[in-house]
């Protein structure tokens, strides 16, 4: 698998399948793990980071895991950005220093970052609301890695991490939700305040500190110590359906009170995306969000959710530049973006199946 292969496929998490996939784009769990006999990444020397990396790559070979390892240092800035856009590496890993990288599985369900803030950040992602399944998968993966790696662990504090906010289980359980109804009915802040009160974090599509765009929001736990992994997952499993219910009633209210207005908004959004000659990333996100909601409300019937999900990622700058095979300035990208949207939306099918 090469990075160029990835431009022709899309992650499983964008597939738009699985329970509640009209609102829950994907379920994701990540585990923070460190090797017991090295200082944490921030304090490790270059040669120690190289050793950590080589321990890890031998481990994936020994465990027989179907993962491809990419060294960040050997990637161009464009390729790094491409991986950030695909949600498989963080900006911190992309912009870090020293030996570091990411191991990816086919379909990008598994992404393991090496030498980010912690030695290993293991991520497992599936489309739809499937946290139990994600936990079973990542737990097994973690067990297989542990057969070959000595993790930093203490019986009283659990898995030891560079930042005390992750110590204990080292787990971050999250779902990515599409909430245009709550945004449009201006109830989103209320919902966020309620979530924050029960210690859940709300972030935008691209994680920590990034602004929500396309009306996508990630909800995840903050507590990692003092509750078991199943207990922490249970909190999300109990709370998310309530958010889904709020979103569904907000959408219903929009349909009941402003049906014509809503239909007009969705149709115009679809029309602009299908015909624009130049379009910014911001406008694309906004319009795709309307179209996505339109499909779920039955206002658009010739376009699949999977296509729209993919377009959120495939209209990002690095993806466009990779498929064009050239560096593009902002204005050139806007033209390339519009052209790509027209080609994808003219027939409503996948650009290319793997």
């Amino acid at each position: 698998m090469t990075l160029d292969d990835l431009t022709r496929t899309s992650g499983e998490w964008l597939r738009g399948t699985g329970p509640e996939s009209d609102i829950v784009m994907c379920s994701r769990i990540r585990l923070a793990r460190n090797l017991a006999d090295f200082p944490f990444t921030g304090r490790a020397s270059r040669s120690e980071k190289a050793e950590i990396e080589s321990h890890f790559t031998s481990c994936i070979a020994a465990a027989g895991l179907d993962l491809t390892y990419f060294e960040v240092n050997s990637l161009s800035p464009l390729d790094r950005q491409f991986l950030v856009e695909r949600q498989v590496i963080s900006r911190e890993l992309s912009g870090g220093e020293g030996p570091r990288g990411v191991a990816l599985s086919p379909q990008e369900k598994i992404a393991i970052m090496v030498n980010e803030e912690d030695h290993l950040r293991i991520q497992y992602m599936l489309s739809g609301f499937r946290l139990h399944e994600v936990w079973e998968e990542i737990n097994q993966l973690d067990d297989r890695l542990e057969e070959h790696l000595a993790y930093a662990y203490s019986p009283s504090l659990g898995y030891l991490t560079a930042c005390p906010t992750n110590v204990g289980t080292g787990i971050r359980v999250g779902v990515m939700l599409h909430l245009p109804g709550l945004v449009q009915t201006k109830q989103i802040d209320k919902v966020f305040r309620a979530l924050q009160k029960i210690n859940l974090a709300v972030r935008g599509l691209y994680g920590e500190g990034s602004q929500a765009f396309g009306d996508f929001y990630q909800i995840s736990n903050q507590q990692t110590l003092g509750k078991s992994e199943p207990e922490l997952i249970r909190i999300l499993i109990d709370v998310v359906p309530q958010v889904l219910q709020y979103e569904r009633s907000a959408r219903q209210a929009l349909v009941n009170e402003r049906r014509q207005h809503l239909h007009d908004q969705v149709s115009r959004a679809y029309g602009v995306l299908k015909t624009a000659q130049t379009i910014s990333s911001e406008e694309t996100m906004l319009l795709l969000s309307s179209v996505r909601m339109g499909i779920n409300l039955g206002l658009i019937d010739d376009l699949s959710i999977a296509t729209v999900n993919e377009l959120f990622i495939q209209t990002q700058p690095a993806f466009l530049q990779k498929i064009r095979g050239a560096e593009l300035g902002v204005e050139e990208r806007a033209v390339a973006r519009a052209s790509y949207l027209r080609s994808r939306l003219s027939n409503g099918r996948m650009a290319s199946e793997p």
Binding site: N34, D37, G42, R43, L78, Y151, S154, G168
Partner: protein
């Protein structure tokens, strides 16, 4: 994000608002300087999450006496450094700075004890290897290559052992 003028990573992100038009500018350091933007000589390091910082200050309080001065014998980090940077240096720090970390963990997680998954194997030799590595770093820093070579051999021996 890529710089709008060259293929480097953009580190300066600006939003310009004029005549109701919004324009985003993303530049790398070199192009930003060329464009005449006045930048601090050393751009400040990304500050640690403000929330975490305020938590640390509020719950560890003003450091007095011994804890303020304490440093980890294995990785060398001082508690003061953790307090400003928010990241620990090595697994051993949880024990070395236990007294300072406990109130912080309680505030962050509402708990101070792990419940949940446990490792299948516990490797007592890991701490020893961590210590050997720290001695190796110091030996290299002092340019004591003879000692460094000996320590490397010991580490290799322990790796095979493990």
């Amino acid at each position: 994000m890529i710089c709008q003028r060259c293929p480097s990573e953009a580190v300066i992100h600006l939003t310009e608002q004029s005549d109701g038009q919004r324009r985003e500018i993303h530049l790398c350091l070199a192009c930003a300087r060329k464009a005449g933007l006045r930048l601090p000589e050393n751009p400040p390091k990304l500050p640690l999450d403000e929330v975490l910082q305020s938590l640390i200050v509020a719950h560890v309080g003003e450091l007095v006496g011994e804890l303020a001065e304490r440093s980890c014998p294995v990785c060398g980090i001082r508690f003061m450094e953790f307090r400003t940077g928010g990241r620990l240096g090595c697994p051993q720090d949880y024990q070395v700075f236990g007294a300072g970390l406990s109130p912080l963990l309680l505030r962050m997680h509402g708990a101070t004890r792990h419940v949940g998954k446990a490792v299948a194997r516990w490797n007592p030799a890991a701490l020893q290897r961590l210590q050997l590595r720290s001695q190796l770093r110091e030996a290299i820093a002092r340019e004591d290559y003879e000692l460094a070579a000996r320590l490397r051999d010991q580490l290799r021996f322990k790796d095979n052992d493990a």
